[in-house]
Symmetry: D2
């Protein structure tokens, strides 16, 4: 098992994270994507400087040269250690790649934190768009399922116990409403603020043109311009994390239900191709729900690191910012993995109507009631389902 | 040290939490406040049932009787153990306190989770209003300070090192923008959804009148009606937690800066009456900033428990809901303590202009520059400060 | 609902924590217990100073006077705010309560952190002894149950699916082994280091006698003397937290299994008196298992705050220490509540052998096997059970 | 920026984790190392089966064939998604690589969880050995520094304020004692339990030979044999996590102190080659201390996920186990990165004795004291230092 020059021996290629391995968001958030986003940010800055007239028009060539570069993420990773972040070696390379006269316009007036924060926001906005796509697919599946099964009675359970009748559509309406919440939250992250505070948040190198450079920079990157530097005002990171955690846990709720419904003794649902077992051929594990549940278990902790980093001292904190990078990617990946897997899972979910009925009959027997009692408890669930479906129309109008 | 019948021996009266002890939010979130909110919710439900015509007008007397009750929180706490929540013993007492004919209308069609979730939302909305009040006071102090000190030069520091000149007003503008973010977030929590899903989220006991009962119930409590039950769709809890964490960390950022500015060797700020030391008379500790920092360190973990609880299985989860209650109060208290203490701290903050200047001179000496260089870096910070002050007008318009 | 002068309006009397309300550890860790422990520490210090000859023999009277005091926890809590910790107002009262000549020996050479850390360790050691007691009771129940049911076949389940036969005793052996691990861990916390570093960890007020005073102090409190001050070397707190988390999660594992076994559709176990439901008379909720699960969900987050506080700067950190106090109590209470509730739960656990058999038959039918196949999978589990029971003898030898 | 067939586009090659990039533990814990460990575990099992006589001697050839294999981690990662873990595709490949007659002995009687858990323990034990090595190097540096500077007076600081004199050696003694604690903890993890519970923890495929196979398996892997399966008794994971968190936070404490000592206004220490800044040439950032601080900030959250996973239901939980893998690697990497970086940092730490003196003089001036007072506070610190150095001899005897 030979090590490779590109850091292969150390690389995390997803082996320990089947919840996210192979998903679209995984590839959108890999180290190569981060490097590409840093490069894109640096090129956009040069263009912004030209646009506002701080740099000569000829400097635009430097932006083009930067865009054309291919850089190795592992090399930057290793070289990042000395200065504590990957932007330092990146800038060295970018400046070497442009004409001598233009080199001073590369990274002009900015700082490592601007470039890395902007790059991570670009990556995050991309990821958020994909999460929105997956959640939308999920929501439409759920809306359809909810409507189709609105009158299919099943047992509602509380604290593990059979409780009262509900309908399958009503349970699914709850899932759907959670996904609506998630979609709304994630949509607030599909464009995010760029960072251009300069060395200490004042963007002083741009003089009076600071806000104009910021606006142009944000424009080239199709993101938003913050009112003032957020180097140590981490609201964008916290709100992004909150949205991703909400999205992931919304999926986690669905997975939690699918897991109980999939239990052998409950038997109400199964994944379309249950996961194989390495030891028992007769089993069909709810593997995708398990993976979503695993993602939902990791999200809150990653979010907590990001929250704690917000109490960042001075104009750049000594550790809190650096602690954000991996957890920030983690919340994107885990939410992205959860959304994609849950959308797939629901699309292929096999529901066993006989089992639903059998379990309900058990409740009827336990309480000594009959179909009329089921009706008493379910005749009006359509009112709630219709409210959720109406919300669906609004959310996706 | 005698134990008391009301659970005094076990009680937490704030001894281990000076960050929150004695604050307004502490008293708004105590167990007595939660009991009062549960009682208020039960009374409101009876009134709602009367309003929509499910219960006879005479039942309104039961609501009045409930309102008049005084219940002991410790008794309910101990009796809660058997069934796992305090609503069960509460309802027993409420029913005993009303006329026999009305007893069946007490808690009619609802469930423990509705009552406790609604009560916690009432408590949370109250707490959020107080947090907003404290943050508003803080924001106005900061806006004034920011404007007054916009041109006072000081050293900006990154990664612990003196970096470049900024102004005190610019640093404060960053604090203020963070408080703006917090205010906006907290305002989303000053009215919150009530819960009235009934036993399993279908509110089936109300038949077709479910939505009407819900609307009336929310109306009596001056909160909002959810589109569908959130028994196991915990968006309200997550969004509340996110807002409180954001608010607390925004204060934590200010505290982090005050702590560095208060260091003996930096000496740029001190609290108006520094905390005494039990061992060293010559010290004046930045005690309030320390307490805010302590609160900011506890918030993310409490938030993470709430986030994890959102992946709640079935119609009521077996543990996830019960795990929310203490952390939910914790996020309210810690954010509330942070907001009140930070507002006090900033109101009394003593800034040492000589020290600000002395530290700046040190930087000038290190880089071999003079006042002109300071101007180069600070002449245009007013642009950013004005943007933040304009935002201040918007936020508090 | 009137507020009370002792802070009743703000008090947490356990209403939101049925997992811990009314347990022995709850009362051992209440604010009154912490005050008592602080007083005990201060008295012990005076006695230690007398013993090593730094203070005159007459000062022993001051120790007795201190011991006789009754102090109100809420008053100290509120007064703690100014200086940031409750020891400052405590010392003021203690000095006022002793003869003038002795006042200077009260708190002599020590600091707030010593007194509060020592008090919390006294409280923790007490709590740990109780947790050990509860875990021991639990372990003996489990050992007996394990032996009795060693040959009772049941279905083992993985990833929610019926997998292969095991025996009930084998499953219980796994629980028992986890409790053994917990007992061993908790035993390391039944005596804990005192703290006597003085103002800055050097205990310089005692001159060359520092180690002797420390030894005497630890002796009077029946705890251990650390090699050097742990003011900012938080190993004792981290190891305590790790032990409590391990104990709580060991109980959480049992609760997790009981919850699944209690599901209506599984039906293999139920608590001896299931928790009542406020809405559904036919239900018998596994309320104690739910509460243990709720405790297990809160422990890791509390532990994470304590771990993060260990990176404590300088001779006393500005926030990290203060952030420890509530989470430290929380880990004790949650582990204590989990241990006591789980011991009760297991003692009264009703196992339904018919259901165990019925579920097993379902598996046999699914795989087309018979009793011989069950034997194939269970004939040798006794080997493992015996290993665990042998370990039981060792642990409780 | 082209994607690569081996998953390069998605790979994490350390770009966002300079705290760990390029460290030895990073390479010991990469996905390739995990694959290698899984392969090693599978080969060891075949050899164990041969040794106890369950498999024919000829099967040993299969073990050799397995050992010779090279497998691609990314391929396994992607194929892991279907079944939820990477062992399933691994076994398929291993069986294809051995002689037909031997194929049935590959993975015989075991399950995915055994193989992955054992592999992770192999990886962890390797990592722990490296952490021990780095901590040992660190400890020896500190012991030497502590002894050399035992009488160098400096200011001790509490709550950010200059407090009383101590010596540099005394502060370092505190660091050293923390590293001793860490070394002792990490040493408990240099051999770890293997897992061989089989499908459901009973290892029933081995019949009465179960314990013998387990012992042989552990022997080939040079790890220990557990008393009973720990599939859902996660003590080994929790104790490993606790040790790694303790180690990382012990380093974090040193970094926290170095960061304050490195502040421009304090100036008592600097890293031997300060980190460059991308924006300010005159700065020399304490980059390594920053990275260690960043690691210390991430460890508690990763540990909390592992702790929460311990409440694992039934014979294999539906999500809790899967949620462990990434956080388990994270605690190893973060502790490993912290240990290696801190050892490097301390080895090259430049202490500025003039600054130490200047800051002390400031305290003397503030309290109106002189050298005699310094002596009063530092003459006896040697007693404590000697205790720590004596402990050093014991720890490394």
């Amino acid at each position: 098992m030979s090590s490779r020059a590109d850091g292969g021996a150390s690389a995390d290629v997803g082996l320990l994270s089947p919840a996210t391995a192979g998903t679209t968001v995984e590839s959108l958030t890999g180290d190569h994507a981060v490097v590409a986003a840093m490069v894109r940010a640096e090129a956009a800055l040069v263009r912004a400087l030209v646009e506002v007239g701080l740099a000569p028009a000829s400097a635009a060539a430097a932006a083009d040269a930067i865009d054309a570069l291919t850089l190795d993420a592992r090399t930057l990773a290793v070289e990042a250690v000395e200065g504590g972040n990957p932007v330092i070696p990146l800038v060295r390379r970018l400046r070497a790649a442009v004409a001598d006269d233009d080199a001073s316009w590369v990274h002009h007036g900015t700082t490592s934190q601007d470039v890395l924060d902007t790059a991570l926001m670009l990556v995050a906005a991309n990821a958020a768009r994909q999460v929105e796509t997956d959640l939308t697919r999920l929501a439409h599946s759920l809306a359809s399922l909810c409507d189709r099964t609105r009158a299919v009675p099943m047992v509602a359970r509380t604290l593990t116990q059979q409780a009262l009748p509900t309908t399958l559509g009503m349970r699914v309406a709850g899932w759907l409403a959670g996904v609506h919440d998630a979609v709304r939250a994630v949509r607030t992250c599909t464009t995010l603020p760029v960072s251009l505070g300069g060395a200490v948040g004042t963007a002083s190198a741009y003089g009076a043109a600071g806000p104009d450079v910021l606006t142009a920079f944000a424009g080239f990157l199709e993101q938003t311009a913050p009112v003032v530097s957020w180097h140590t005002r981490r609201t964008p990171v916290l709100q992004l994390a909150s949205a991703m955690v909400l999205a992931g846990e919304g999926c986690g709720k669905i997975a939690a239900d699918v897991l109980v419904m999939s239990q052998t003794e409950v038997g109400e649902a199964r994944e379309d191709h249950g996961g194989p077992s390495s030891a028992m051929a007769h089993k069909a594990n709810p593997a995708q729900a398990v993976l979503v549940a695993a993602a939902a278990r990791q999200l809150p902790a990653a979010g907590s690191v990001l929250a704690a980093s917000a109490a960042a001292e001075q104009e750049r904190p000594a550790g809190a910012w650096h602690a954000e990078w991996q957890p920030l990617r983690a919340v994107l990946r885990l939410a992205g993995g959860a959304a994609e897997r849950t959308a797939d899972l629901v699309a292929g979910l096999q529901l066993d109507h006989d089992a639903l009925r059998r379990n309900l009959d058990r409740l009827l027997q336990a309480v000594g009631e009959d179909e009329a009692w089921v009706g008493l408890h379910t005749d009006h669930v359509g009112t709630w389902i219709d409210r959720v479906l109406a919300q669906h129309e609004e959310v996706f109008a």
